[in-house]
């Protein structure tokens, strides 16, 4: 895959591509809607789901509080089980370690288990630069890789592709990467899967080195876990002679028993299944069975910076289930590419800015604003990451970073200052409202009357245009509530007969008469 998120424009601009593509919007709405319904169904079967979420949250929080201890314990357990442990501060270090292992074995190809961590560090590109082909073996990742495309979902990376597109990609590209697709390939799912199986089998049997990530890493035993749906990962984990696993440091769990909670939370949240079809666990080297050389790369790449933020660190609880993507109304309409990161959707909107750091580029800084703060993501998160809370917190960090970097306040800075000044005093607010009311009276003459008698304005020039492009604008009431209350003693005085504040009366006898009041 040569595609890269580098150069993705800021979210509002990047989102436009998806918003204008009605086929893509339908694909996304259908796919997320289907997974969302499946998830809701299997979650509702579990009586103690909320207790499980609390347990998941507690386990991950314990890990984060004592992260160095658990990581050292994990290292000891892994080494005792015959694995080699490497520590990587950043993407470059992690990539170098994997490239070194592959080169030491004189191979020019590796097979890969679907892994977010290796995408995050752009391992495939680093291997390619060293003359080593990295073959993705997850079906959706294979589609993305062969299509020279970028993933747009954590769990379903090719969510944006339909069957006809996949057939075309297979016919065009498979031959160049190995076993070609049959000439008579149709877009039936079974035929597409069969072509992928034949293509991949050749790679599984030939590869000497495999690369994986891990969903969980158990400190007390040194056991790594991968959960998947297709079994292609297990082929990579068992057939090659050498296995290198790149594992984010937040993936550690204290005990094997903690897997009990996580393996209940993860499949129901991610694929909407009671249990995923394949769960592989391995502990170092087992003589005569599976890879005889096992490496584990423990990856930081910004995670300790996230850990240092008391509000933001909850993002490290994430178990990459992607439930938040599937319920997010923004993701549903923009797809994953708009987020410009391997982590799209709500979790990407908080994780990516934290891993990269805010205040350096406009694209990253646009991510915390790529949400209406509707809270659906928090509701489904199996480890209770309060994503809206972190989004608001990160917006604060973005604003602070900009204010630190520039001596000149932005238009937005000044608008907020002015609003804060006006709205922190009732007297100033009342004065501003009188102006708005006057404006409303004037504007009411220009507008038309919406059902119910309300005066509204249509398309507007200037700063209000983004609002008024598609929405009618309500005209400010001729009299504010505040001034109505003052004038009529809260409606108790009989002088309340002019109905001066009424702009929204459900059915005025003479609609549109407000302007004259």
């Amino acid at each position: 895959m040569s595609g890269t998120f580098l150069g993705t424009p800021a979210f509002p601009t990047a989102a436009r591509t998806a918003l204008e593509d009605s086929q893509l919007r339908r694909n996304l709405a259908h796919a997320t809607g289907t997974i969302r319904a499946k998830r809701a169904g299997v979650v509702s079967e579990v009586d103690d789901w909320e207790q499980l979420r609390l347990a998941g949250e507690a386990i991950k929080d314990r890990v984060l509080r004592h992260l160095p201890d658990y990581l050292e314990q994990l290292e000891r357990s892994l080494v005792a089980a015959g694995a080699t442990v490497h520590w990587a501060r950043d993407a470059a270090e992690a990539n170098r370690i994997v490239v070194d292992v592959a080169q030491r074995h004189g191979t020019d190809e590796v097979v890969k288990v679907k892994s977010m961590a290796t995408q995050e560090i752009e391992l495939n590109e680093a291997l390619a630069a060293a003359g080593i082909h990295a073959w993705e073996t997850d079906l959706a990742e294979l589609i993305v890789q062969l299509g020279d495309d970028l993933p747009s979902h954590i769990l379903v990376p090719a969510i944006h592709r339909n069957r006809a597109e996949i057939r075309e990609i297979f016919l065009r590209e498979m031959g160049r990467a190995g076993r070609a697709a049959p000439d008579d390939l149709t877009d039936e799912p079974a035929r597409l899967a069969a072509a992928a199986r034949t293509h991949l089998r050749e790679k599984f049997l030939r590869a000497k080195v495999a690369v994986s990530g891990a969903n969980f890493a158990v400190a007390e035993t040194g056991t790594l876990t991968v959960v998947e749906s297709e079994g292609n990962g297990r082929m990579c984990l068992t057939l090659p002679e050498v296995l290198v696993s790149v594992v984010g440091i937040e993936k550690v769990l204290p005990t094997f028993q903690d897997l009990d909670v996580m393996l209940q939370l993860l499949p129901r949240s991610s694929t909407g299944e009671r249990m995923n079809p394949y769960t592989s666990t391995w502990t170092g080297v087992t003589p005569g069975d599976g890879p005889q050389e096992v490496h584990v790369v423990l990856l930081d790449n910004g995670r300790t910076d996230v850990l240092a933020d008391p509000t933001g660190r909850q993002a490290l609880r994430c178990i990459r289930c992607s439930a938040c993507l599937n319920v997010c109304p923004v993701y549903e309409r923009t797809g994953g590419h708009a987020y410009g990161s391997v982590y799209p959707g709500p979790i990407g909107a908080i994780l990516t800015p934290q891993l990269r750091g805010v205040g350096t580029d406009a694209q990253t800084d646009s991510l915390p604003y790529a949400s209406s703060l509707c809270g659906a993501c928090f509701e489904v998160c199996p480890v209770r990451i309060d994503i809206p809370e972190v989004l608001v917190h990160l917006r604060g960090e973005v604003v602070r970073a900009h204010q630190r970097a520039s001596r000149v306040p932005s238009v937005q800075d000044m608008a907020m200052k002015a609003a804060s000044w006006t709205l922190s005093s009732a007297a100033r607010t009342g004065a501003a409202e009188k102006v708005a009311g006057l404006g409303g009276r004037l504007a009411g003459r220009l507008g038309r009357t919406a059902p119910g008698g309300r005066a509204v304005l249509g398309a507007l020039p200037g700063p209000a245009s983004p609002w008024a492009d598609s929405r009618d604008v309500p005209v400010p009431a001729a009299e504010s509530f505040r001034s109505w209350w003052e004038r009529t003693d809260g409606g108790r005085s009989r002088s309340d007969n002019t109905d001066g504040g009424r702009s929204d009366g459900p059915a005025d006898p003479a609609p549109g008469a407000e302007g004259g009041r």
């Binding site: 907020m416 709205l423 009311g437 598609s470």
Partner: protein, 270 residues
Amino acid sequence: MSRVGLMVTCLNDVLFPDTGRAVVTLLRRLGVDVEFPAAQTCCGQPMVNTGYLDDAVPLVRNHLDAFAGCDAIVVPSGSCAGSVRHQHGLVAERSGDPGLGRAVAGAPPVYELTEYLVDVLGVTDVGAYFPHRVTYHPTCHSLRMLGVGDRPTRLLRAVRGLTLLDLPGAAECCGFGGTFAVKNSETSIAMGNDKARHVRSTGAEVLVAGDNSCLMHVGGLLSRQRSGMRVMHLAEVLASTEPVIESRAERSADGAGPGSGTARTLGAAR
């Protein structure tokens, strides 16, 4: 007697004063002598949600001062109730002023209108009359930040003459999101258009919600589409009463549709 303060919200104050008046009418009818602390302005949510947490500090202080003498605060907005309940603490914490944190913790409890009606007053039938086909949008902050649950629909179902129609995808966000509607205008409109489509599919005459901000967004789209649909705050529906000047026969005839007779009924009900 306890002092109940109406927090009318800045948006209602300027754009939707009828909502505040409806709350006053409704609560007085239920025997609550609601006050309007004149020093109130805005809860600070626009600043907080845009990342200007420091600029929200004076607004949080003003809110605390304005409602200091109250025993309870009632607000016809799930969003603003959520802001006071969940964001004021965050603002105080970031300000680094422990006194502000203590003041926030000791502030009077804030109730979204339906919470106050159902939980505090213990009523679901407020004696309202509204002979129309209505669909209800449970705004995100009411639904998820506050968890008002079925309180609004219980209140609506008890309204005489009202037909409550299910809204497809009701729990999905309308796309307003405060400054989101400006910063990500196109996504916001895409979400809003889907909401408007669902609203129109119900065949209702009126879209009702507990937040005028969301209604302003969806209503602005419905209005631009010349849909003929109205949007109304829940408080205004609950404040509507049966007119005494018309005969029962006329009313039942009106109940069939939104004709001019209905308009007179509603006008009189104010």
